[in-house]
């Protein structure tokens, strides 16, 4: 580990931001996804185009929006649209990337953000639900997912599928009536980065965060993982990434502070 001190949210946001290619169009959800997209735009991918759910398109980089309808999503924006307009652009295939969180995920990248518990009508815990995640993952060509990594979250069978991944595997999306050639692309956790094996559509370990072992990942994953031939290690956040996150993107530490509790 370097001498830089950072929490796991700062780390996850830094890593994820590096995978957002310049010039692409990204539809990002509230929280860490927006954090990562904002960081990418400031450092790695200045021409990344951000579309927000309530209609903001390509705002100038400013402070982190605290919701999808925050006026920071239209700060000097090139386009102030509406929610249906945003979703309709996505439905046409405008978004290269969706970037989402979730409470549970399975090996095909299906997400649950609706409830915990075996019986829909008697939930152990009722969660907020889809928001715009279902549309984002249905329409974007590639979906990035960011979430905490443990056996309650990486599960064989989620309690509820809120947001489609590859559904029941290859061809699943097409059989259900979703547009073809799209789906989950990468998953970022506090342990590792995963992608999806192209033929089987199953989740695959791609790289580790520094200090994390493959065994640890297996131990925290509730389904059988696939593995890349060469599992690499992600680089730690740079000083510049941390500075931008802390000073420019989230100076109030609204999202960043959620990583503090765990580690400090």
């Amino acid at each position: 580990m370097s001498k830089l001190k950072y929490n796991h949210i700062e780390f996850m946001a830094s890593i994820a931001s590096r995978y957002l290619e310049d010039g692409k169009v990204v539809f990002a959800g509230t929280g860490i996804p927006m954090l990562a997209a904002a960081l990418a735009k400031r450092i790695h991918s200045p021409n990344l185009v951000l579309i927000f759910e309530a209609g903001g398109v390509a705002p100038e980089a400013s402070m982190l929006p605290l919701s999808v309808a925050d006026s920071r999503t239209t700060y000097h924006a090139t386009y102030c649209a509406s929610m249906p307009a945003a979703f309709e652009m996505l439905q046409q295939g405008i978004a290269s990337y969706a970037f989402l969180g979730g409470a549970q995920i399975d090996k095909y990248g299906n997400l649950n953000s609706t409830l915990i518990g075996d019986d829909y009508y008697h939930p152990k815990t009722r969660l907020p639900g889809s928001g715009g995640a279902n549309e984002a993952a249905s329409f974007a060509w590639q979906t990035f997912i960011i979430m905490n990594h443990n056996r309650n979250r990486f599960v064989e069978k989620p309690y509820y599928i809120t947001t489609p991944g590859y559904l029941d595997g290859p061809g699943g999306r097409e059989r259900a009536g979703l547009a073809p050639d799209a789906g989950p692309y990468m998953v970022f956790t506090e342990l590792c980065v995963l992608d999806f094996e192209p033929l089987s559509k199953r989740m695959r370990l791609k790289s580790l965060l520094p200090g994390v072992t493959v065994e640890k990942v297996i131990q925290e994953t509730g389904f059988e993982l696939l593995f890349h031939e060469n599992i690499t290690t992600e680089k730690e956040p740079t000083e510049e990434e941390l500075r931008v996150l802390r000073e420019e993107v989230d100076p109030w530490r609204v999202v960043l502070s959620r990583g503090d509790a765990k580690e400090e």
Partner: protein, 273 residues
């Protein structure tokens, strides 16, 4: 829903309400906290975005789901937006290409058909016509011609699809003001049943171009909402809603013009890019 409107709904004691929307944040939580909702057509509830978990309301919702006193029809922000839009277009339904393949499809009222032109499967979502909609706008004239600055979110379609439409506005202006740029008009007069001037009516939430959300107030609310016992929320509502006679008094309690001026500066990122 504008917070000023929700306060008044709480004060006047409306109960047994259905709520239909994509994402509901503070407005929806206020009604859930106070046990005013019996039916939801919804894409997102019980989230304070990133400020914490409203444990009191969540527990209430869970218990009422178990007893059947609360019914939820599952949707997504997109499908709810399109249900409003179908109604606003004068149609009984709209086709959509999301929702398919998920449990939310099963627990919604959507149907799936084959497109008669292309053979591809599409989901149909039924139009929703709410009894009442209230939105907050930047300016409106006395006839109800409404202009909104910045993003429109869902206001265009929600306003058009409700049987009764109440407008709260930062300012009632002369129709001449509206006529200066009719392309800023979002809702024309014939949809509107009532226009009410409520300055700062969105506070403590964000009114684009005018004032940013009050993060301190929201954090204080979120903390109260996270107290599972409900005691902290009881105090919050007594302090801010039931113990105030109207929105003006509430604003005064929250710092009034001074606070709004601070939020205006934050909104315009004065001293910060």
């Amino acid at each position: 829903m504008p917070i000023a409107f929700v306060h008044e709904v709480l004060r006047q004691g409306f109960r047994n309400l259905g709520m239909a929307s994509g994402t509901r944040n503070l407005d929806g939580d206020f009604l859930l906290d106070n046990d005013r909702i019996v039916k939801l057509d919804i894409g997102y509830i019980l989230g304070l975005e990133m400020l914490g978990i409203p444990l009191y309301a969540r527990t209430l919702v869970q218990n009422k789901l178990k007893t059947g006193e609360l019914k939820i029809s599952e949707w997504t922000n997109g499908t709810m937006a399109w249900r409003h839009k179908a109604a606003a277009m004068g149609l009984p339904f709209l086709p959509v290409r999301s929702l398919a393949g998920t449990d939310s499809f099963k627990y919604s009222a959507a149907k799936q058909i084959e497109c008669p032109f292309t053979g591809i499967k599409v989901v149909l979502v039924p139009a929703i016509f709410c009894d009442t909609c209230c939105i907050h706008v930047h300016r409106a004239d006395k006839y109800g011609n409404c202009q909104i600055d910045g993003m429109l979110n869902e206001d265009y379609d929600k306003a058009r699809s409700a049987k009764n439409l109440i407008i709260t506005t930062e300012k009632i202006v002369d129709t001449k003001e509206i006529r200066k740029d009719g392309s800023k008009t979002v809702i024309p007069q014939f949809y509107v049943d009532a226009v009410v001037e409520v300055p700062n009516g969105a506070y403590p939430t964000n009114m684009p171009g005018l004032y940013y959300l009050d993060l301190d107030h929201l954090k204080a609310y979120a903390k109260a909402a996270g107290d599972r016992s409900g005691e902290s929320l009881k105090k919050y509502y007594n302090d801010y809603v039931f113990g105030t006679k109207d929105f003006k008094e509430f604003m005064k309690k929250c710092g009034g013009k001074k606070r709004i001026e601070e939020l205006r500066k934050i909104e315009h990122m004065e001293g910060r890019k």
